[in-house]
């Protein structure tokens, strides 16, 4: 029954497969890849060669500078002596002035552990928010007390003030929880009144006890500086402007004409002017609007203005998200008999905030970068420290590249990290079409 016997007339039939052969050299491995990706056409080849030349020049010109770098010296002159005519960076400025770059030049050096600890705790506090799926939600309690802990760590002073500030929020929250089921407005205003009452009582108690020797010595705001200042401004302003931005966005979308127009004018005004002018307001104009005897320090005024600035941008991002939700969601919420606050809290905002994450992260990254602008109103943040005390000193006058590239690197790490996180979060939250 074999084939061979029945088809004897055929001269030759191969019975077994030929062994597979390796693809031609030009169709496999590196050669195939580079032919497809680098040399697929004439113009591509030219581009590849040009890019290669560009990379070569960048590497050749920067490699000796990086590799010959001097890490131990007291001044730029000593750097030059050590280098002895060779090309090389003078990175000694970073090892000698790292404390000024990170903490500013007046923060007491024996207290550096405090902002450092606050920074580490910031990561701990942010973690349950950032990776909410993977970490126990109990950790959010720490997030809630973190702002007060951080304030106390960085600014120091009597421990009672942050404790009472925290208590005010706790009392407000409890009152809100009691009243919100009856009416949103009652809960909202009740919470505010309860919080203020607590703060007033706390203030009285604190002043009655008088100023003893505080556990952590108080550091005035004007001593904050360096990258620490950028981080403080960035985190405080973003976290404050988020609720404010949500409120503004809801106000702008609401059907109440007066509230709508207040929000529209605020948002468009703030978005229409550069941050620098708002910082000018903070440094030279805002003081005129406070009560005559009040002394509000510069850092607080700057926080107020930057928060206003970023809340307007966040409001626009959230407004976009609100507008992107299908009308059916609003109508469904209404048909369930939910009132406005309930519909917003339970139906609309959870969806709107989810789709506005990339936009909010963009604003946050932009804002963090913009905190360098405070150096223009003579605050000594990272850029201000470099341009001011360090480059003006006789030891390090002329060490531009090392310092500015270090600053650029610090910002790059933070901003790139945040934007990578936001992309990860977007994938994580994508509940549609997998």
């Amino acid at each position: 029954m074999s084939d061979r016997s029945s088809h004897r007339t055929e001269p030759f039939v191969r019975t077994d497969m030929l062994p597979e052969q390796a693809p031609p050299a030009a169709q496999s491995g590196v050669i195939k890849w580079s032919r497809e990706n680098l040399f697929s056409s004439t113009s591509n080849t030219i581009l590849s060669v040009l890019s290669a030349i560009a990379i070569y020049y960048i590497v050749v010109s920067s490699a000796p500078w990086l590799l010959n770098g001097v890490w131990n010296a007291d001044s730029i002159r000593q750097c030059r002596e050590i280098l002895d005519g060779r090309v090389g960076g003078c990175f000694a400025v970073l090892t000698e002035r790292w404390n000024q770059l990170l903490f500013g030049f007046t923060y007491p050096d024996d207290q550096y552990w405090r902002p450092t600890l606050a920074f580490v705790l910031l990561l701990v506090a942010a973690a349950p928010v950032m990776f909410f799926k993977y970490l126990p939600s109990k950790m959010l309690y720490f997030t809630a007390i973190y702002p007060f802990v951080a304030y106390w760590l960085i600014w120091g002073g009597p421990i009672l003030s942050p404790i009472f500030a925290f208590l005010g929020f706790v009392v407000g929250y409890l009152v809100w929880n009691q009243l919100v089921n009856r009416s949103f407005a009652a809960g909202f205003f009740g919470a505010i009144i309860a919080a203020f009452v607590t703060w007033a009582i706390g203030g009285m108690i604190t002043s009655a006890l008088g100023a003893g020797e505080p556990m952590l010595s108080a550091v005035p705001s004007r001593d904050m500086g360096g990258f620490m200042l950028n981080l403080i401004l960035g985190t405080v302003c973003v976290s404050l402007s988020l609720p404010l931005g949500i409120a503004l966005a809801l106000g702008r979308q609401s059907g109440l004409p007066i509230i709508k127009w207040i929000c529209v004018i605020f948002i468009e005004f703030v978005r229409g002017v550069p941050l620098i002018t708002l910082l000018f307001v903070a440094s030279v104009v805002l003081a005129y609007f406070f009560p005559p005897n009040a002394t509000i320090d510069l850092i607080l005024r700057v926080i107020i203005m930057i928060t206003m600035f970023s809340s307007a941008y966040i409001a626009e991002v959230i407004r976009g998200a609100l507008a992107a939700l299908p009308r059916g969601q609003y109508e469904a919420a209404d048909s369930l008999g939910l009132d406005y606050p309930q519909a917003m809290r339970l139906i609309i905002l959870p969806q709107a905030l989810k789709i506005s994450i990339p936009g909010i992260v963009n604003v946050a990254v932009g804002l963090f970068k913009d905190t360098t602008l405070v150096s223009v109103i003579s605050m000594f943040d990272l850029v201000g420290m470099i341009r001011g005390p360090i480059l003006a000193s006789t030891e390090w006058n002329g060490v531009y590249w090392e310092l500015f590239l270090f600053a650029a690197l610090l910002f790059f790490i933070v901003c790139y990290g945040i934007s990578q996180y936001s992309q990860w979060l977007e994938r994580e939250l994508a509940t549609d079409h997998r």
């Binding site: 890019s51 509230i259 550069p274 406070f290 970068k369 150096s375």
Partner: protein, 525 residues
Amino acid sequence: MTTLTDPPQGSFRLSMLLNDTRYRSYTFQFIALLALIASFAYLGSNLVENLRAAGLNISFEFLREPAGYDINQRLIEYNSQSSHWRAAMVGILNTLLVSFLACVTATILGVVAGVLRLSNNWLVRKLMSIYVEAFRNVPVLIWIIIIFTIMTAVLPAPRAFRGDDATASMLFDSVAFTSQGVFVPGLVFGTGGLVVVLTLLASIVGVFAYRKYRVKKLYDEGKVLPGWITWAILIVPTLVVFQGYALTAGNQENRFLVPTDLAAGATTLDAFGERLVADEQNVAYCSVNGSTASSVGKSMILGLPAVGLRNPDAVRMKSSYYATVDAAQPGLADGTCNMLVAPAAQAEQISAQSDGALSVLETNVKNGAPIALNLPYLANFRFTDGITVRGSLIALWFALAIYTGAFIAENVRAGIQAVSKGQTEAAASLGLRPGRIMNLVVLPQALRVIIPPLISQYLNITKNSSLAIAVGYMDITGTLGGITLNQTGRAIECVLLLMLFYLTISLSISAVMNLYNNAVKLKER
């Protein structure tokens, strides 16, 4: 018979303000308005009280007072005696200048980088992502300062251009990169210069008209008109007019006048130059307006090989310009001018007027083009003539352009990717060539996505240009918000005007954007 009843139309009760949704909104708005008025009243009373305590008032009178400071980079006439208002105007123009330059450059950079990020060349793709990520994630202020450092601390000082063993040299003998700024050639308009410019503008209009006609012809009759005519329309008329003026009106002779007592027997320009070098005398070079493109005479002197005036160590040169012959005459007589260029007729007038004491050596200067380049050259300690572009302007311009270019690249990439692949494939199956697929199918659809964010990037550039104050570029923030504010102490007024200016710009750009959006949005039923 219906069981449905309307809600009772009963009389209005006060509790309805809180409980009835029809009235509740009025309550809330009233409360909001009240709160707003109260907070404004509070802030206003604080302001009044603080101002009274400080002995100040709100007044814009200071704008009329002389500013008393100099601005080195300016587009309009300004000196330290001009008013603060004028200084603000200079600032506004500087803001618009740097914003415009940065917008154009950022668009070019962004489009190129955005398209290259989608290239199928792996190396280019990676390079462009590095560019985008590196610049998006670092504050623009740091980039501005880094480029400013290159412009001021790394580029050679003008003295490096001096002497035989100069360590630096000018690019094409016309552009000098120095630590005091970049010196580039300016344009000098001679006879007919305006006509040449108008011709060029008319040609550009003609090119657009021709292209429109070409498309119409193609669609109506199926005829393809040649494309090279576009170039012909663009170049030929301008070239003809330019040459026409250069050979006729522009070629009229100008006289090079040198007082003979200075020339001391020299009968040619070369001989006179040699005398100047030998005596180590400065050249005071003047020209009468309207006659010679001032650069023609100047480049003559600079170009005299025998004299060696190119070596600026030998002779220092100083140039000045006179509006009329009458103004030039005394200058020539009292020696503030020892070389003067005037048109032939006027030169004769000077020769005729000069009495015996001032006999004049005349040499013909070849004058030509209706538009000539005014090249910069190294005078005593710095470069003069041409156009000075300060390091601060360049730093701001390029930093803003490169920084914003990274954002625009992302917008462009997103826009191109937003056009579905089916569109490209459908166009290809119609038989369109790749270039036409891009131009006729992909780009028109991508632009709809790209342009709105692009315009908001332009807005960002304009607002970020206020960072000029960090590098001392005198834009509106540097003048009105910087020196004027510090000198007069009128913080509220200055900041108010500053905000008003930026607000006007922003709102007008958004208005344009809305118009555009309405024009290109998909027409849906």
